[in-house]
């Protein structure tokens, strides 16, 4: 399995490398790390910290996409977990106790897990298309979050809560450890158990997997649950950063960034085989891109233009790569552009095998 992707990881890694290079050339201070009060500071450190919410969401998104699905609700879900957690803390008499904070986080994440399972139910049991099923929660979720906070942007003062996004551990931002922890846990989950290969199987051919005895329904259901849980955690981080539950802005458009990160990393939207390492690289690409743009003094609102360019470039590179790969397996000498081959001919080829 890793062999399959070894060559494909080169592209996203190259893109990340190019970005880092670009940054270093235009501002040599990009790579510098300073130490103050035993804590590390610097642009790279900022990237490690700020990318945490996206990292969590993108990991979940990778698994969802592998099952041929998509989760558009992650942004709205982030708003919900922040709203729940902050409401609990703001109504509590001891907002500074770690216990209160942990309970608030626990309940917030638990609720988003339930919402994730709700999505999973719609997709796996009722059989609704993932884009519609999660669109529903995307449309309604922020409204629900607003209802929880009574229409206000709840703010709190709680130093333990603030620590998550703003604190440090071993000199590095605590938020970064959230990322690392999630990567490690999810990584172990999919590769040490059979969850990874069964998910790929379900994504590549759901009916064959079902007949082979794979619990497709259960797997799809759980994966949406995991996505909800990770999004909930991301929402906690986000609200910890601003110490407020901003239901309209929390995770705004993060689903698109997450999908972008997954695709940049090399996992196909068509589902099936996936790569977590690719997604990790994809997240860093997006975060570095944001950092680059901020540094260049371009208004952040214009960031989408650069994202668009990156998307297009990566898609182009992935596309010609597929064509080359095809060329190695089937020598179709047609001097005409392989354009005609990619659709019809590959399918015809695949089916003709049995003749």
């Amino acid at each position: 399995m890793t062999r399959f992707f070894r060559s494909r990881l080169i592209w996203p890694m190259g893109a990340l490398f190019a970005l880092v290079l670009l940054n270093t050339i235009s501002r040599p201070s990009f790579l510098s790390i300073t130490v103050k009060n035993g804590q590390l500071y610097g642009s790279i450190i900022d990237i490690l910290r700020d990318s945490a919410p996206l990292m969590l969401v993108a990991l979940g998104m990778t698994l969802v996409i592998a099952t041929r699905g998509i989760d558009l609700s992650v942004g709205a879900v982030m708003a919900i977990s922040g709203a729940v957690a902050l409401q609990i803390i703001s109504k509590s008499t001891s907002p500074n106790r770690i216990g209160t904070v942990l309970i608030a986080i626990g309940i917030g994440v638990f609720i988003t897990l339930l919402f994730g399972l709700w999505n999973g139910f719609l997709v796996a049991v009722v059989g609704i298309q993932p884009i519609i099923a999660t669109l529903v929660l995307m449309l309604g979720g922020r409204g629900i979050a607003l209802l929880i906070t009574g229409g206000f942007i709840t703010t709190i003062t709680s130093s333990p809560y603030a620590q998550m996004a703003q604190g440090h551990l071993l000199g590095l931002p605590l938020a970064f450890f959230f990322s690392v922890g999630a990567i490690a846990i999810i990584g172990l989950l999919v590769r040490r158990t059979a969850l990874g290969v069964l998910t790929e199987s379900v994504g590549i051919n759901p009916s064959a997997s079902r007949l082979a005895g794979v619990r497709s329904r259960g797997i799809i259901w759980s994966i949406y649950g995991i996505s909800g849980l990770l999004a909930g955690l991301a929402g906690i981080l986000y609200s910890s950063n601003i110490m407020a539950a901003d239901s309209n802005n929390a995770g705004f458009l993060i689903e698109l960034d997450a999908i972008l990160a997954v695709v940049l990393g090399g996992t196909s939207l068509r589902g099936g085989k996936f790569t977590l390492s690719g997604t990790v690289i994809g997240v860093f690409i997006i975060q570095t891109l944001t950092s680059t743009i901020t540094f260049l003094g371009v208004p952040p609102a214009v960031t989408p233009v650069f994202k668009a360019i990156v998307v297009i470039l990566v898609c182009l590179s992935q596309s010609s790569r597929v064509r080359q790969w095809l060329g190695r397996i089937r020598h179709l000498r047609g001097a005409k552009p392989p354009i005609r081959l990619s659709g019809l001919e590959t399918e015809v080829l695949a089916e003709r095998k049995s003749v």
Partner: protein
């Protein structure tokens, strides 16, 4: 394949297909009729609940206030019929509006600005279409790129809103034609014309039939010698042009170009088209269904306003309705397949 039908070779040697169930040629009308039913039910329900709900004024405003969405839905229907999706329409609408506002404010004549808006929309559509067809990029991602690009370019044109003072553009929205409480504006008329032309194209032109064929089975369409490449790109161009027209309508509606316009509008559009009976998988759906879908959306918005409820309920109810529709559609499709 299961052979569920008998085949007779009649004495004269002709082969008949004895279909056990007379399969109506247009099974795909059922979701559309369902949408119409829902619309009527909602209107009746509103009338019963609020007393004076279904008034000429309300019905007229249903079209006029949502004219931009009608046009967007028309373009989106083309794309979804081929099995694709276009996430860029909201942003392209905003961009063309922004472009127009900027150009008008520096004195470019209206007669130049409007065609330019359409060309801008067409260019975005072409880009997306080429990515989808020639580079095998999934429509979701390709149109996402379009959305990012258009949105970003909005801000490049201007970070703040630009007022529009051009009398022609404003007149499109403000001019009222009608009798009694019924009224319609030029923007409403534009929307209806767009839907009519789009419906005609789908039913009576080769391009339209190719669109359905691609949605039904793209490989077959290719093997049948249809101009699949051209059509796949063209549907995105159509969607882009519609976004340009919608930009015109929206700009005259708000009398300004504003970079935060149309955020989330693509989702509203998709919801309207799906509620209107077009299947996301492609190959099935009608333009009139999308029109009905927009009206459903409009009625919900109106009802929420009447209820005095918080605007966030609008989105929640659209979400719930969309869910209900899709579940019912799924049920109908499953029944049809079992037969």
């Amino acid at each position: 394949m299961r052979n569920t039908n008998t085949v007779d070779v009649t004495p004269t040697g002709t082969i008949k297909s004895g279909m056990r169930r007379k399969m109506k040629a247009r099974l795909s009308w059922i979701p559309v009729l369902a949408a119409l039913a829902i619309l009527i039910l909602m209107l009746i329900g509103g009338q019963v609940h609020f007393g004076s709900f279904v008034t000429p004024g309300m019905l007229s405003s249903l079209l006029v206030d949502n004219a931009y969405l009608v046009v967007l839905a028309a373009g989106m229907t083309f794309v979804i019929l081929t099995g694709g999706i276009d996430l860029s329409v909201g942003s392209v609408m905003a961009f063309t509006g922004m472009l127009a506002a900027k150009l008008l404010s520096v004195g470019v004549p209206v007669a130049v600005v409007i065609p330019l808006m359409l060309v801008a929309g067409a260019l975005f559509g072409t880009m997306i279409g080429v990515l989808v067809h020639f580079f095998d990029v999934q429509p979701f991602i390709a149109s996402l790129a379009g959305m990012f690009l258009a949105r970003g370019l909005c801000f490049v044109v201007s970070l703040e809103a630009i007022q529009v003072k051009d009398p022609f553009v404003l007149g499109l929205e403000s001019a009222r034609l009608g009798s009694g409480d019924w009224y319609i504006t030029p923007t409403g008329i534009i929307a209806l014309i767009v839907i009519a032309i789009a419906a005609w194209v789908l039913a009576y032109t080769r391009f339209g039939r190719t669109v359905y064929a691609i949605g039904g089975n793209e490989q077959s369409a290719r093997l049948m010698g249809l101009a699949v490449a051209r059509s796949k790109i063209l549907v995105y161009v159509v969607s882009g042009v519609c976004a340009g027209i919608a930009g015109l309508i929206f700009t005259s509606y708000t009398a300004a170009g504003y970079s935060l316009n149309g955020i989330g509008t693509e989702l509203d559009t998709i919801a309207a088209v799906v509620i209107g009976g077009t299947l996301l998988t492609g190959g099935s759906g009608y333009m009139v269904g999308s029109l009905i879908g927009v009206f459903v959306y409009g009625v919900i918005k109106t009802a929420i306003t009447y209820l005095g409820a918080d605007a966030s309920w609008e989105r929640i109810s659209i979400g719930i309705l969309l869910l209900a529709f899709v579940v019912v559609q799924r049920f109908i499709v499953a029944r049809a397949n079992r037969n």
